[in-house]
Amino acid sequence: MTGAEDDRRFEELVDGIVVLSSGDLSNRLPVSPKRDGIDAVATGINLLAEELQSMYESLEARVAERTVLLEAAKAELRRVINTDELTGLASRSLLREKAAEAVAAAEGGRQPALILLDLDSFRLINDSLGAAAGDAVLKEAALRLSAAAGPPHVIARLGGDEFAVLVEDREPDSVLQIASRLSEALKDRIAAGGIALAVTAGIGVRFGEPGLDGEELIRDATIALHEAKKRGRDNTQVFSSAMHDAAKQRVHLVADLRTALVSEQLELEYQPIVDLRSGKIAGTEALIRWRHPTLGLLAPDAFLDAADEAGLTVEIGHWVLSRAIAQTGQWNAAPGLSRNFSTHVNLAPADLHHVDLAPYVQGLLGQHEVDPQQLSIEITETAIMRGGPEVAATMRSLKELGVAIEIDDFGTGYSSISYLRALPATQAKIDKSLIDGLATDGQQEQFVAAILQLIHSAGLVAVAEGIEHREQAEKLQQLNCEFAQGYFFSRPLPVADMTALLMGADGSAG
């Protein structure tokens, strides 16, 4: 073997390694029949190259295989995220995506609109017929809504009983027509749980406008839907900016109200209730007020809806009860009250849904040494009618304690006469709206007389509210109405003033 020959072979070896290291792992180095050291190096490198090549290839094959699996898993995940499992409609997340795309696609042209629907009383279906029946209703509703909306609109189920239709490139009139079709489509009875159900929906519509993004579209349609639901069944509302302002105000009010509860901003005023037969003060109605740091003294109308939305109704109800009963206890001690004097407290349906209300009241009465008969709970006629078995049970428990139940706003609801007799109530309060024309309108007088007769024949005692003139008080006295309250006697008073009034020599008023 010559040196020159070896040099040439080394050269070849290096060239071969250069090719391999450039990435061509299929290259093999020449091995001569000599099978000497140079050949051994070449053989070793060839074997390593083959090993490496094989590893790379199997790695690439594995990566390709895993990539296919990963893509399939991603596609499946996307399908799951974008589809409502129960109905097969688009999901909330897909609706958001599509709303954003529709807004972007509209540019300066016709903006997309959104129709939101929420089935009325759906919870009742679920609660009374079971979840399977509820699901059947939702599936059928989905089919009908899809058929009514027709392509190409995106139809989504946002969860629960809430549906959405994203309408693109339509004039407002056309959007409203679609909303009306959707509402009508639900009205044919749906078979579920062995019966045929009539389904209606509340509908909120938001027309698109330039500058409004997809999220705002959904938010505003939700506000409109909320408004529609507030107005009762089968109602459609189109979003207006006033709704937005009101919603914003409510949000602030709710936040403030939470603070109010803990920082003693709530207080009670007391309006005297007069016995028309004796002219003496027979009781008082506790009325909640909110001393708002910036808005001043607020009446309950201004904040009780917000309390309801915030879920604070029960907490506020408990606060009112505890404060009013404590105050009655203090008046019992000084100046001393007749056992016939009663403090009236208004409660909301939500309070009466709590089975622990009666024990709670019992505890407070004992703690403040107040006779049960010195407390009267006022519940609106509508709350009683809609309350169901829990409300009826709570009323019975309160009555068993000896607490009086009073039907508030009597004459404004739709009580049936037979139902009225069956109630555990002892008093009925005639609404102010019936009293207003009493002294001037002869027909109204006859009407009030009839109502009083109705109340008396059901074995109840009548309290008239909203008395503003002497003539009204006299008329009611003639008609044998037992009790009355109103500005004519006294406006609602702060505690100190009410206490002073009770300390008056004979407690007479008016």
Binding site: P33, R35, A40, T43, E50, E51
Partner: protein, 132 residues
């Protein structure tokens, strides 16, 4: 790709295969053969055929082998009737091939590389020749 290579059909790459008087089965490859998977499988089949289920020590003369493919090595990794395998070579190329073979696969039976025929036979005999 790679654990099959069928370019070379099983053919006359095995020069001889048979028992020697000492009870050792000796396999000699043709000069310059590239042992690929079909070749390897042929060798294993032939060994099994001759042994007929009896375990026998195997001496593979690879002194003239050009290379052993990756696929072939996996064939040799499967159990056959050989009770022990001695790889016999002489050149540095043989040494690289044999040690690559030994290092990469885990042989199911004791396997060792020798440069001396006598050493190989001695080792095989000491491995408990039960095929004689």
């Amino acid at each position: 790709m790679p654990d099959t290579d069928v370019e070379t059909p099983p053919g006359p790459d095995i020069v001889s295969l048979g028992f020697e008087s000492d009870g050792i089965l000796r396999l000699s490859w043709a000069r310059g053969v590239v042992i690929d998977a079909p070749n390897a499988q042929l060798a294993v089949d032939r060994v099994n055929e001759i042994c007929q289920g009896r375990r026998a020590p195997l001496l593979i003369d690879m002194a003239t082998t050009a290379s052993v493919s990756r696929a072939a090595r996996t064939v040799f990794a499967q159990p056959c009737d050989a009770s022990a395998i001695a790889l016999l070579g002489s050149s540095p190329v043989d040494r690289v091939l044999a040690n690559f073979f030994l290092g990469v696969i885990s042989s199911p039976v004791p396997t060792k590389f020798f440069t001396s025929n006598a050493d190989a036979v001695r080792w095989l005999t000491s491995q408990g020749n039960d095929g004689g």
